[in-house]
Amino acid sequence: MPSRPSDIASLLKGDRYNPDNISKLESYLVSQVQQADASAPVSAYDVDANRTLIKLYQFFPLQTKVDYVVLVEALALVYGDDANEGSRDFGALGCLIKESVKKEEPFPTLLRCTDLLDSCQFVDFWASFHSIEENSFVVALSKSQHGQNALRRSILNTLSLTFKSTKLSFVLEQLDLGKDDTMIRNSAIVEKIDGDSVIFCDNIENVKSNKVNQDGGI
């Protein structure tokens, strides 16, 4: 995946909150969802640059483009390493976005998607996410192989935090994979598929701990 372009890097290091930066950051945002090929967008996800754009909209509200605000939030949700990070970044960005912007679709549906990810209701999440029609960028993101796989990796990570083992049918359903278990089989965090069970690799969360501290933590 390409690293941050040099003009964006110097913009972020220099006069960051100059309103003249808005159009450059908007183009950069769109390049994070435009597909270079099936496996990758043109630019890597860049939360720092996207947050700067949201801040510029906060400072200069007349220049706000709601479609881009929605896209920034959708990207945060999709590219979190796990469901927690996705919804946490979504929430943190949401603190910079006025309530009036959040009233029009697809924002309410996106908010519902975040709540569903946060409460690990993944089947309902997929249904909600795929129901978004109003923003062409988000629709493209929700249909892209790259975006869907990023979400699946995030959800699989989340499952591995609680489950040492669970039913394959359950995992397939949570990942919206139908009957195709290739992604699960090839995942680095899955030890093996044994009959109708998925066994996750050991991690600090899904095995017996040696000692649990009084102040929380293992």
């Binding site: 910079l96 609680t162 899904n206 017996k208 009084q214 102040d215 933590g217």
Partner: protein, 525 residues
Amino acid sequence: MTVDDNLPGPLKDFIFDLHDSVRTSQIPSEQLVLYTASFRNLTSKYFEKRPWPSPEAVSQECGGDRVFLAIYRELAQRHYHNISRPSARDRVQGWKVYVELFELLLAEAQGGDNPDDDSHFFLLPEWSFDILHEFLYQFQGFCQFRTGVFYNASKYAPGGTSAGKTPPAHIGENLEILKQNIDAWAVEKVMEYLDRFIKIGNSPNAPSAYQYLAIFASVTLSRLECLLGDYTSSLSALSPIRADFIIAPPRGSDPDVTEMSAEEVVDSVFAAKISMTYHAGVSYLMLRRYKDASKVLGDICATMGRGFKSGSYKKITGIEQFTKLYDRMIALLAIITHACPSYGLVDESVANTVREKHGNQLSKIEAGEEGYEDLFIFACPKFINPSVPPYEDALTVGSSVGHDAAYKLQVNHFMNEMSNQQTMMKLRSYMKLYTSISMEKLGRLVMEEDFESLLLSYKLKSRQIENTDEGEVYGTVMDIHYFIKDGIIHVDEAEKQNRFENYFLSQISQSADIMRDVEALSVEV
């Protein structure tokens, strides 16, 4: 400000000495006496209810030094804002004072790094912090003021609560002043000044005066980002305040004064430390980093609790401001320690204070009678809307949002974060009863919809980033550990350690308090 040609003798001496300490001798201990005690004494003697003389009036005492006069003007203006209720014009004038001062100070920085060069200056860390702290305080006040003016004016627009009535004269006047000075206190300019101080003070060979300004500009930027709701940037603004950013003692220091790190410089100005810690605590809380929040807030509250108890804080000027922040931090800790019931998250003394001040409210929250909202509203900062309102629409189109929209946005985010807290606490209390239990059986006991998702979600939300010696890592705020294998939930609970020493320590401390009270009694026989 009044032009006073007949300056009292002590005032003339003060200006002369202060100028000397800023420009020539640069002796920190002398400047401290002048900046704190002398200034306070002269204020209470001559200027308790009126402004200090204008820079023009005192110019002769300092050889017309432009930079010093700009520094003096800021000091005098700070006093004026303290004793008066600033009007729209006063607020705009405030902005001009800071622009003049900052442009002069930043221009001086370009003048070479020769320490003997008289174009440099020295300001104590306290003074550097006070300038930047007040700068942001006036910015915050201005944002609230202009939002308030716009909102009040919009009541007279069609559809507003006072539509059809003539607005009072002051509303029109204020709108006009704001329109004519639309660039005053522009948020991007405020950030730009802080950024320039940070860059200059962090550059190689920067004189200590600029290093102090850079350090406190970072603290101020962190506070600004928090007030804007950008908690991620608020925390990253503190990254220049590191142990390896070393500041050499100023050239006028006593021989035994050693170099300090940026962290130690902040620690040496208590107002800076408490402000920095409070805003960092709020940012950690809003970013779901409850352990980091409780660590920074708990440490400073423990220190302050001891200070209040020993009476050593009574002599500090401005202690009321510290007390307010202390109360807010205790309220934040009440929320965190209730949401994450783990023993040892905070010091026992702090936990006691939380129980004393908020025990009642927490019991109601426990019983489900109310939520954390009231505590959060009491504890949170005064968030601001940084954008310029569309003044031309105020009386014609009006406003669809309330004047407190910025603050409500943050409260809503917080309440959303806490929305599942009760359900998770219920799950935890059931899980603590078992070492292993089938999912089916626990599901029947807990009786919540989508029980499987709840198990996943509780684990997930408790997994949070924390600062450790190895950097930022994922930890957990749960005091239990569970995982699921083949349909069975396995639960490990925290080992209960018998903490006898805490009992003895608290009894010894109470006994010492009683003895102190007894000795203070005077008994005549």
